[in-house]
């Protein structure tokens, strides 16, 4: 039984047909060619498949594809605008917060969202927010550094905008 669904993906409209037992992660990676969200554990433990659903981070490995009908999905591919990396993405490169890179899309989506909610988080608040994301390589230290750096960078930018006004 194919079900037609319509949703907004990274700002563009998508119409596809899916089976009821198809997962959002599989739809994104296999039918829509967005391989940013990663498939690792498949059971909610690692956070590598994190996407934003109506702006909130969720796990695409535990979301039925039919469930996003009428909603808005953002993947890592949808964060950078106009060919320029986001502050979080740049900070990840500068702080060497990426080793194999498999967990990275999940972490970047989470930290991006955290900084929108809380522009000046403590190290503890960062670690608490990303506790559902696992990384086998970095040991988390550089990931937390990158988050702090991006936060600082973003705060500078917003104060610049204020001054210009």
């Amino acid at each position: 039984m194919k079900i037609p669904i319509h949703f907004i993906l990274n700002g563009e409209e998508v119409s596809v047909e899916v089976e009821p037992n198809e997962l959002l992660l599989n739809l994104l990676r296999e039918k829509l060619g967005l391989t940013g969200p990663k498939y690792v554990c498949g059971i909610g433990e690692c956070g590598a498949c994190t996407v934003l659903l109506d702006g909130e981070p969720v796990l695409s490995c535990l979301t039925l594809a039919v469930d996003v009908d009428g909603h808005e999905v953002t993947t890592i591919e949808g964060l950078a605008k106009d060919n320029e990396l986001t502050a979080v993405q740049k900070a990840f490169i500068e702080e060497a917060a990426v080793q194999c890179g498999y967990c990275t899309p999940g972490f970047i989506i989470m930290i991006d969202k955290l900084l929108k909610e809380n522009p000046n988080p403590t190290e503890e608040e960062i670690r608490e927010y990303i506790r559902g994301n696992l990384c086998r390589c970095t040991g988390y230290v550089n990931i937390v550094k990158a988050a702090l750096k991006a936060a600082e960078e973003l705060r500078k930018n917003t104060s610049l905008i204020k001054i210009k006004k």
Binding site: V16, L32, I43, L62, T63, V66, M110, Y129, R131
Partner: protein, 305 residues
């Protein structure tokens, strides 16, 4: 428009990761859902946040013929202050509880549970109703709701009934709900003046289910315990209250040495097992300590109010 990409041969095998075929319904109202449950209840599963059910389906532990996705039923998602009680819709997400001042102020034990439940993404997806209906002995919302005297409203096409949460669980994965019933809401009376509550969870990692957990609610007057309720998770086939220990504490002076002595009784009221997370021996030893600690925190919180 985003174009569908051509599938590689490998991906074709991989697309349907849930190895079960089911018929899918997404009712938009409670009545529609109850009709569907009336018709298909025995062979159907309700899908809320899916963080328990989809994992089980992936592992082929359950293979329902029908899935009734209730996520779209807006009337089941609310937190309402009604003066002497608070009503929580079954579809309320853990993250909504976390952001609710009402929960934080009136039900600190439930708020403690929210803070140690899953991670950000899981809290965004998982519902409180799903946590209770999944009926894991480790369900983090159960011990706090038990000491807060919560009641559950169950609905079916035939009507509604309200039961105390202490009568809800029947065993691991088992509840008193009939196949045509749905959990509609949770009601919690506002705590009595001068009382406090707390929840403590011991887990292997910050993301894991409890090895053991305990919630307490307490009221002390003229230095004597006039009200005490204790509930323990992951230490029996269901979360349990410990009435004998509570009885032994009632009327006693609130003194650390007396508390330490009396909480030893909880060991007789639980029946933990050895499993992947811990051992029966460890759970018994730790149960006493976390009940004692939870009582002390409850006391502190009561005196702060």
């Amino acid at each position: 428009m985003v174009e569908a990409v051509k599938l590689s041969r490998h991906n074709l095998f991989n697309t349907h990761i849930i190895p079960v075929n089911f018929k899918y319904f997404a009712p938009k109202t409670l009545n529609e859902a109850l009709e569907l449950l009336d018709k298909y209840g025995k062979e159907a599963k309700i899908l809320a946040g899916g963080t328990d059910l989809l994992v089980k389906m992936k592992m082929r532990l359950v293979e329902p013929k029908y899935i009734i996705n209730i996520k779209g039923i807006r009337e089941l998602n609310f937190i309402k202050d009604e003066g002497n009680q608070v009503r929580i819709g079954a579809l309320t997400r853990w993250r909504q509880l976390e952001k609710s001042e009402l929960i934080k102020n009136f039900f600190p034990s439930l708020y403690d549970a929210v803070k140690v439940m899953g991670g950000t993404q899981i809290r965004n997806m998982a519902t409180v109703g799903g946590n209770l209906c999944n009926a894991s002995p480790a369900a983090d919302s159960a011990p706090p709701l038990m000491v807060l005297n919560a009641k559950l409203v169950l609905a079916s096409k035939k009507g509604e009934r309200e039961i105390p949460i202490t009568q809800f669980f029947k065993g691991p994965g088992k509840t008193v709900m009939e196949p045509d019933e749905l959990l509609k809401e949770i009601t919690i009376p506002k705590p009595e003046e001068g009382s406090g509550s707390a929840f403590i969870k011991v887990a292997r990692t910050s993301m894991d289910l409890a090895k053991i957990s305990a919630a307490t609610a307490l009221k002390v007057e003229d230095r004597k315990i006039v009200m005490v309720r204790i509930a323990i998770g992951s230490a029996a086939p269901t979360p349990v209250r410990t009435p004998k220990t509570e009885e032994a504490l009632i009327g006693q002076p609130f003194r650390p040495s007396i508390i330490r002595e009396k909480v030893k009784l909880v060991v007789n009221e639980i029946s933990p097992i050895d499993d992947v997370r811990s051992t029966a021996f460890y759970r018994k030893e730790v149960s006493k300590i976390i009940v004692e600690d939870a009582l002390l925190i409850s006391y502190e919180r009561a005196s702060r109010r």
